[in-house]
Symmetry: C2
Subunit: 322 residues, 2 copies
DNA sequence: TCAAAAGTGTTATCCTTACACCCATGT
DNA sequence: ACATGGGTGTAAGGATAACACTTTTGA
């Protein structure tokens, strides 16, 4: 990152220039016993967040400070997700903006220093329709499909009806379409638009039908979480980021289980191993483990050197039809 | 996009909360006679930008307003690039932050309503080393390689020397490595770190050697432009965004020339056509054109319908060895 | 001996890349 | 006729996906 003095910029005083509050908000991911986990605060209904302060040396430092303060957790890998603006912060006479800058961070759950492990919650508590490791979850054909189709039929025009059905079909893989694990955000937004998630009907006592399964969060936190999951599911394929979530030494099956947990799909074991080893992403430690039943597995570590050697790819997903 | 009321968020008053200025800044891209163009203001040394105001309905609306106001240009496709924070805005006693939110926008140069066409400048004025359409530009072996190697040799430790050489080699394709057109930002940052671009030595009268070719810009605008180019070069491959830059009706060669201009590389014509047509991205209008010499070419239009039908890919780059 | 997990070998398929060639028009 | 760009056929090569099978341990 570069440091540069900001030159005065031509400013044409066309309106009321004003100041804004800046909020930092983090999707912190780690592997836990209960699957891929997001770090939460409050009643597990909020992501760690806090205002960006003058004492913070940079946006990233501010984020680290807040996460550490609220959860006792030190962060490793961080990348920016998205910035959005909400108008009219409640309860103020003078109009004011809130700018929210969201980040994706990857760590290992053990890196928490003091605080509770209860802060980790599985992604799939919030998005039960996203876990396809044991096949298509029953919530999709059982609940989502009928309610989304009902929503589509509610449309005014015939064209919109078709368009809604098509969008839902693509996002959720109806009518024999393939499941695309990266469309996490589109799926959440569709459910929001169809007023099937609690966040969409909050306040307005309009909803006749009960919300669908999946824990809601405050404000738009669940949408930000969806954005983070989508980003990670996509990134994992073209950049070796999984290793940020792994212990220093691991077996190939552990690595595979992690990728499967993140992508929500099962992988083909022999091909997965070959892909990883072909790319020289890992090296044998020489040790083996016999933690579980079965033949002892070789232990591997990530070859950090690959990051310097070339532009590295991530873990392709050799899907299994199972 | 969803609208949601913002709930009060737990705020732990740990420091001096404060307000910040929010700036919007745009990388606006269109095809011009002189290659892929970026919309500039001032003496072609700045990107359109301005403060986010209360009157703006959203960040995107604010951006549109500023670009239209400064350049008379209406924007179509817009996506967010990156948000960064600079400390210590000059000339103020009370410390203040500036948050800059940058965007990438795609349009057609003809969409400018009133103002001058001189505002469009070719990317390659700012990044002459990025245009590989006529082979490796001479500036790379002639100027950049020796100066980057000299910079590498300046390193204190032997390890750092090797690491610098390796980074430069990967970024610029030294020693027979492949050219990777997506590394626009890495290349600029490397040149900045090596103090070869004017922005890096500005103010500090330290530089003995003259800056390399390539027009500088104010503040960090050239870095933001590099970010935009990198994003577009990557995105073009997996999402059909080129069409935002095309007229409503075009020939396949025109489309190819556009992709080539953006990626800075030549493509293999027969394979390019097949890739495009295979994916049903375009449909024939039935008309032909005989604008130039040679056999008249069929005219095509973008099939907007594909955006609804499925998750669509972009234009893969069937590279030509020429 | 069986279950469970670690591994290896090989084939089928598809996608990309490359080469070779023919077509239609203006000068 | 030839230059220029439009357009088609097809084969080679590589990457992925699938299947079949062997190995090593603990219960």
């Amino acid at each position: 990152m570069q440091k540069q003095a900001i030159a005065t910029r031509k400013e044409e005083p066309s309106g009321k220039a004003h100041d804004a509050n800046v909020d930092l908000i983090a999707v912190v991911v780690a592997m836990t016993e209960h699957g891929p986990g997001a770090l939460t605060v409050g009643r597990a209904d909020a992501l760690p967040s806090g205002p960006f302060e003058l004492s913070h040396r940079s946006l990233q430092f501010g984020l680290r400070a807040w996460v550490e303060h609220q959860t006792g957790h030190q962060l490793g890998y961080i990348e920016q997700l998205y910035t959005f603006a909400d108008r009219d912060r409640i309860g103020e006479q003078r109009q004011q903006r809130v700018i929210s800058i969201s980040y994706l961070a990857l760590t290992r759950a053990e890196h928490a220093v003091g605080s509770s492990k209860r802060a980790w919650r599985s992604w799939y508590d919030y998005f039960p329709w996203e876990d396809h490791r044991s096949g298509v979850p029953s919530i999709i054909p059982g609940i989502l499909q009928p309610r989304l189709l009902a929503w589509a039929d509610d449309a005014g025009h015939d064209v919109e009806r078709r368009e809604r059905r098509q969008r839902a079909g693509i996002a959720f893989g109806f009518d024999g379409r393939d499941w695309n694990e990266e469309l996490v955000l589109q799926r959440y937004e569709l459910l929001y638009e169809a007023a099937l998630v609690e966040e969409a009907v909050r306040g307005s006592e309009l909803s006749a039908s009960p919300p669908i399964p999946g824990t809601p969060m405050i404000a738009d936190h669940r949408r930000i979480l969806a954005t983070g999951i989508a980003r990670l599911r996509s990134k994992i394929k073209y950049r070796p980021v999984v290793f940020e979530l792994m212990p220093p030494v691991f077996t190939l099956l552990q690595l595979q289980r992690t990728v499967e947990a993140l992508s929500g799909r099962l992988l083909h074991k022999p091909n997965f191993r070959r892909l990883i080893e072909q790319q020289d992403l890992v090296e044998e430690t020489g040790e083996t483990t016999s933690d579980t039943v079965g033949r002892p597995a070789k232990l591997f570590r990530f070859r950090h050197a690959v990051l310097d050697e070339r532009v590295v790819a991530g873990t392709k997903l050799p899907l299994s039809r199972a």
